[in-house]
Amino acid sequence: MKILVCISHVPDTTSKINFTDNDTKFDTSGVQFVINPNDEFGLTRAMWFKEKQGASVDVVTVGGKDTEPTIRKALAIGADTAIRVDTEALDGFQVAKELAKVAKDGEYDLVIAGRESIDYNGGMVPGMMAKMMNANFVNTCVSLDIDGDKATAVREIDGGKEKITTTFPLVIGGQKGLVEESDLKIPNMRGIMMARKKPLNVVEPVAADTHTKAEIFRKPAPKGDVKLVDADNLDKLIDLLHNEAKAI
């Protein structure tokens, strides 16, 4: 089983969100970048397949040299090889096309991506790349098992879950549930040392075109002050929710 895990390099969840260049670019100054949380659950599940079922696990990202510490971290967690497609990630379509090329060329059976990246929240890369590769696709995947040439997955749906069986090649849009929070691994010293010796292959992009362009960003208008209601006067809260907010 050859597994490819797609890693998105995203600002840490506590980052201050600001923009520069007349609000056209995300301001990266002082921002710490991490493995996209949804991808980290997938990576950790992939490590399980490696340890228990002898799978090989490579990681890939589309981005500039600045993304290398993030994929090095994935190597330190245990991935075998990292691939960086050397181009700026501009939109979901372009990224999907670059990733689909890597997945096809490498003849991967299973591609695990995250259901969305926490920066642009596009939620489109895994589905697009699956269609481009003619692979099966399971989104919002919260459980994945492999048995020979069959895969069993659980997909989260609105208000419940659905059990799915399918075959390879397969693309997953993963999230928490693939593994638990407590299963996530912080790389140890040995992992970090070993990661330095593992290959990080920089490949040329296919120079895919884009379909969309992120133009101007804006931040939400500042919120007004909270209206405090005394804990002994909950009738007031009900009155506000009914007459002012019209929410009940």
């Binding site: 969840t13 506590t14 969100i17 923009f19 949380p37 949804n38 379509f93 999907a96 926490i118 920066d119 642009y120 929240n121 489109m124 589905g127 697009m128 699956a130 269609k131 481009m132 696709f137 399971v138 989104n139 919002t140 997909r155 989260e156 749906i157 609105d158 208000g159 419940g160 879950k161 059990k163 799915i164 069986t165 399918t166 075959t167 928490k176 929070e181 884009t210 379909h211 969309t212 362009k213 992120a214 133009e215 101007i216 960003f217 804006r218 939400p220 919120k223 909270v226 209206k227 405090l228 209601v229 005394d230 804990a231 909950l234 009900i238 506000l240 929710l241 907010a245 929410a247 009940i248």
Partner: protein, 322 residues
């Protein structure tokens, strides 16, 4: 040239989001001087869509589509978009719509803007405002392709009645085995409870509840309000509540009319995921909890005292107002 809109149904009945995406599609149709065509799969009484500006309904009845299948459903929409020569396809951001939209956009070679919150500006390179950084920002995204797919965030546009008479046309689609690479073996859905995605009101609780045994009052409050229940991330990580209730940046997004947070501190990752909700209420015994800065209404108090009282008072209120 008609605007195509995918109007979702469940057990043969149109969902509320179907009327919202129809309203939105009508908004775009007015900007582009064209009509609205809805696609509905295995639903009855689709005529109601006419009240929200739909001119034509392509009604698909197909046993093969009795369970949702993203690739096959995307194929239906692809064929409908080609037949109608649609330049814009609109979907909701339900779990199913998010699943099929990327497939559809590859089929149609269309640019896809997800999480849209406003009508597009047509003359300005077809630019759509969408949320980014999990509601911490908005972004104007332009779409350069001839055909465009837009995913409308739940509750971002609302329902707009727009009387028209919709014609219903049976629509048959060609599906191949390739569309069914995924087999749905079983669906486990809580049918007597509203889902977080569809709920008007969400009652959410955090670590302040001290333990899983204290959730009875959260459930009861939710019951009184006809609300969905949700929780903060640590609550689901500790197994107090199922993962499906985890809301926030790494959990589910909430865009309800009313979000009530009980014993939740208001960490940035939590707030990001729920901030699209219209009215936010916090109940917390720590007046310094960051949630008070993000909420519209707040009660400083012990949840174990406030919530039971609130339940009683809401029951009274409901009895007097129904």
């Amino acid at each position: 040239m008609s605007i195509l809109v995918y109007t979702e149904s469940e057990n043969g009945k149109l969902k509320k989001t179907a009327f919202e995406v129809a309203s939105y599609a009508k908004g775009i149709a007015e900007l582009m001087n064209t009509s609205v065509t809805a696609v509905s799969i295995n639903a009855s009484d689709v005529e109601e869509l006419g009240n929200y500006g739909v001119d034509k309904i392509l009604k698909v009845d197909n046993d093969k589509l009795s369970k949702f299948n993203a690739d096959a459903y995307a194929e239906v929409l692809t064929q409908a978009a080609k037949k109608e020569e649609s330049k814009v396809v609109v979907l909701s951001q339900s779990a199913n719509a998010k699943y099929l939209a990327p497939i559809l956009s590859v089929n149609l070679d269309a640019g896809y803007a997800s999480n849209a919150v406003k009508l597009p500006i047509i003359e300005d390179n077809f630019t759509v405002e969408r949320t980014a950084f999990t509601n911490k920002a908005f972004n104007q995204t332009s779409i350069s392709t001839d055909v465009k797919v837009i995913g409308l965030s739940n509750n971002a546009y609302g329902l707009k009645e727009n009387e028209s008479s919709a014609t219903v046309e049976d629509f048959t689609v060609e599906l191949s085995d390739d569309n069914f690479g995924i087999q749905v073996e079983s669906v486990d859905k809580n049918t007597d409870k509203v889902s977080i995605a569809d709920a008007e009101v969400v009652v959410s609780a955090g670590r302040g509840m001290k333990g899983p045994d204290n959730w009875d009052m959260i459930e009861e409050l939710a019951d009184v309000l006809g609300a969905a229940t949700a929780c903060s991330k640590p609550v689901s990580d500790m197994g107090w509540r199922p993962h499906s209730e985890h809301v926030g940046q790494t959990g589910k997004p909430v865009a309800a009319n009313l979000y009530i947070a009980i014993g939740i501190s208001g960490a940035i990752q939590h707030l990001a995921g729920i901030s699209a909700s219209k009215n936010k209420v916090v109940i917390n015994n720590d007046p310094e909890a960051p949630f008070f800065k993000a909420a519209d209404y707040g009660v400083v108090g012990d949840a174990f005292e406030v919530v039971p009282q609130l339940i009683e008072k809401l029951k009274e209120f409901k009895a007097n107002n129904s």
